[in-house]
Amino acid sequence: MTAAPSTQSRLDTTRPLAIAVMAMGGQGGGVLVDWIVALCESQGWSAQSTSVPGVAQRTGATVYFIEAMPIPQDAPRGLKPVLSLMVVPGEVDIVIGAELMEAGRAIQRGFVTPDRTTLIASAHRHYAVAEKQVPGDGIGSSEAVYAAASVAAKRFIAFDMAVLAEQAGSAVSAVLFGAVAAANVLPFARTAFEETVRASGVGVAGSLRAFALGYERTQSNATSDAPPLVPAANAKTYPALTPVGHAGYDALVARALKAFPPETYDMVGAGLQRTVDFQDVAYGGEYLDLLRGLLALDQETNGAARGFALTRTAAKYLAVAMAYDDVYRVADLKTRGTRFERVRNEVAAAPDQLVYMTEYMHPRMDEVCGSLPRWLGRFIENRPGLFKALDKIVNKGRRVQTGTIRWFLVLYMLGGMRRFRRGTLRHFNEVQHRDAWLDRVRAAAPKDYGLAVELLATRRLVKGYSDTHARGQSKFDKVMAGAAKLEGRPDAADWVRRLREAALKDEDGIALSGALKTVDSFV
């Protein structure tokens, strides 16, 4: 029988240092692992890495695992440790999350433990399909990951490494390598880390820049005792309700400041700007008039005690309803100078490069009719044969090259036609829809303040264009109908909120139908 090789006859209690890398396929997790292994080997350690890439290389979540340890000076030649090929929960020294939710996944899988693990995560988010495809807001909570990391990890290092990587013209893996160096769990000098990057020979300059950014950021974070801060995800920028030097608009601002309670200034400011920008100063005046009426209702129903929730909610959704998305609006937005600048920034064009945009537009006869004077639009709509014939001509995809003079002029003129908007069929329909909605709100408010607020917020469901818009509209109608059945119940507001949330869960309204059935079962 053969005996196992060993440095001594008693069991050695030395344990390897373990590192788990949680990444998505294509993130460069493999490069990072190769660096760590090469680094360990260059320092006289024995290192083993494994991975299960499989099909996960196609953007799926994947785990790499490294174990490494120094070989004793007096070890017999060829002595190698027996290392694990799988992550050993509870025995991981460093967990690297190349994206925030992957760090969360590592915690869930028990890889991160408070006695041992330094968790290094890039705080940036790369949303999963499950998060993106929801018609509403399906984004997972970053706060939850930070909260879990604060109890699960011995030390938690997190900052947005994607931004630093971009700044350095490199990849997240290089920033992470810098963070690993600065975290001081691997007992090697910074120069050894950098030498490893150099020796790898690919994209060295960029990698070293990114490495340095990761290293320094980790060090500067380490000097403060505070845990890393959750990046503000859904911060809103409210325009100030202040004069801008335009007499008409400034008069509206003065009116608003006087008429509305300060708690509502932020939202009234946002709504006022949107409606004026959508049409003109007079339209902003209409907005304030309508809102003023709702404020009166709010005051009568003791809204002050509720922070004027009714007025605030109305300020938001009334503006959304009034600044609907029609052909003129889209044409106007697409032709603005500010937009041309924004596109250049978004595509990161260098100053010497030229950028041309092509818009993908697919107008249908519905949109055309809506943009015509009310009588003409109606005339066509009432004649299905004519409508169909015209639709055949109109209804096709058009690729609009906004950067060329010919196409720009078309869009520019369309954008300019917003001055005729008030007479269009679409406007008439929108006003009717809006008035019906507000009537329901007005009727509900005296009896059930909470319900009135929820009815206002239901307007969130109407969004999108063409089919999507129609689908949103129908969900809105269903929730409003459900609300009618619920009126008078003490939990009506709660239920309307639930219905709205259900409507935002999936495209086909399956969750909403389920929720409505539940409502039917008890009303």
């Binding site: 053969t2 090789p5 060993s6 069991l11 050695d12 292994v37 991975s51 299960v52 499989g54 099909v55 996960a56 196609r58 953007t59 979540a61 994947t62 060829g78 440790p81 027996v82 090929l85 799988m86 939710m101 869930q108 028990g110 399909v129 499950a130 998060e131 993106k132 495809q133 018609p135 807001d137 984004i139 997972g140 939850a144 604060s150 109890v151 699960a152 920028t237 325009p239 801008v244 932020d266 920008d277 938001k316 937005l333 697409k334 032709t335 603005r336 596109v343 990161a348 064009a349 092509t358 993908y360 697919h362 249908r364 995809g397 003079i405 969004k463 063409s466 999507t468 949103g472 495209e507």
Partner: protein, 716 residues
Amino acid sequence: MAERSFAKEVRDLELGAGEEFRGEGILAITKALLQSGVGYVGGYQGAPISHLMDVLNDAQDTLDKLGVQFSNSASEAAAAASLAASVMYPIRGAVTFKAPVGVNVASDALANLTSGGVTGGALIIIGEDYGEGSSIMQERSHSFAMKSQMWLLDPRPNLESIVRAVEEGFELSEVSNTPVMLEVRIRACHVHGSFIAKDNKPPPFTLRQALESPKRDTGRIVLPPASYLHEKEKIEQRWPAAVNFIKTRKLNEFFDGDLTDVGIVTQGGMYNGVIRALERLGLADVWGQSRVPIYVMNVTYPVIDDEVAEFCASKKAVLIVEEGQPEHIEQAIATILRRRDINTKIYGKGALPMAGEYTADVMLKGVRSFLASAAPDALTDQVRAPNAPNINDDSRVQALASAVPPRPPGFCTGCPERPIFAAMKLVEKETGSHHVASDIGCHLFSCLPPFNLGATTMGYGLGPASAAAFNVKTDKKSISMIGDGGFWHNGLTSSVGNAVYNKHDGVIIVIDNFYSSATGGQDILSSRADTESRSTQHPIKKAVEGVGATWVRQIDNTYNVGKMRDTLKEALANNEPGPKVIVASSECMLNKQRRVKPLFNKAVKDGERKVRERFGVDEDVCTGDHACIRLSGCPSLSVKHSADPLKDDPVAAIDNSCVGCGNCGEVSEAAVLCPSFYRADIIYNPTGFDRFMARMRGAVIGFLQRRRARRRVAFA
């Protein structure tokens, strides 16, 4: 052309005696083949053994120098059949594929090969795709070894042991005239380690020599009466020869320990896991020294009766560590002990789970429960009943369940298959849902969100075959998918030929992306690449027509969603007998980018005028419904929170990883989604004329923009 270049790895293949090889397990195997004097290598790519194929493909020079013949087999069956060269001639041959799926496909050839037996060493290297990261059904290849009586090696998962298994595997094969399977699990294939290399050996007997003096022996052909004799020969001659070799050459390993009442019998591949579990229980150390004796079966079939009996005889209880099911080894050991009346208690399945991967914690629990029952004194109280609070019980950790989204693999940025499924979704919206039969390949991701298309998958190249029963008159034909990889693997006959012959009234979509993409972008018959060593550029359309399909449509740009949709509608409406075949061709974007990007960058660097396209979303036009995402799922098309206080839901956003494939624009146009998408054409190194036009346009457009901006209320 494979996904990546293996220039460094090719150099590693040429290391000489005494030099240290550092790298992946699967590459160590490749090197071991050359050190063993292999004469020919074949195989079919697939995780986790693709790299073996890719490296040899890039190593033509080395192979030529040595006189080693390497072929990319059309399928695992073709690879296994190529081992026929070792039947009559003393030439070592090796083939490799993913298992057990590859073994399934190859089993006909393997059974024939094993029946007649081999003269030269025949090695079948199988990448056992089991457990985390696996993309296939969870089964064992072990049963195949048993049914045909091929020997199965399962070495300890370190490079030295694996390399030794290759070298000794050939010898074992030769002394027992039996093909040998070498099983390597996913992690072992990808494990980074090192071993001391030997010189490469040219094959002592060459294929040319064989062809110049051919030999035959009816006794080796699977025909009665020889086939009856083969079975007897297996039991009476080959088996004892193998057992003798395994024993005398000590292929299996015994590790002593002072707790002699108990022992662990383990598959070689599980060894590191066993040691770690013992280490966590305070009974072993990181150098492999263990207090519990261990019998490591580097050969898991045949089981060596004498070794098992010797190991178990003096022990009260043994634990058998055997991953997967059925528990073939445990059953064999139980029989051996029973026959010899050795009453050692067997722990195996029960202490360890019957199904599922032996992860670190599963192994720990199994070994602990075995020792707690069989040798309780060996464990400290702390180890026997650990009472440490588990951080996973903390409510903050449990709250992650609702925050962390699943992240299955999906289509890459710019994938040409995405628009095909987007078009199918659009058709579905008009005609209702259809029965969709899927196949193996990247396109199987269509089963997942956001597409949710595809009802079954029955094996590589078998998508349309799996819809064969649905050959009935209906207004709703079945739609079946097949990739170019599966098409050439066997789909041309089993799927397309089958449908033609049976006049199957269904729609077949052949997804042709110029490579066997899911396995790493290897070339196949219809690849557009020009390669010196292989014959490519054979159009799928011609092949389909060649087997008699009459309704065939070739689409050369899958990104044209409208055309894709209309063609599919046309196919569904057509009532001619026979399959309606749509060949949808566009290059795999991952490979295209690898090919094109360096050229683009170089051209730009050289001052050439170049246009890069990418897409964007106008945030203020987007209303945050995400309908576009539900028809795409592209990694570069994502969402972001809007700073606009009037917007509740995140808006769509495209990042700079966009490759401008055109899908977003096409989909929003075909599905009449919304006008928020734009394509930006970024002109690098604009010419003088470009700049002149830009100035002209800028002057007119800028004038109009400023004019309108002046009339508008300007907000800061």
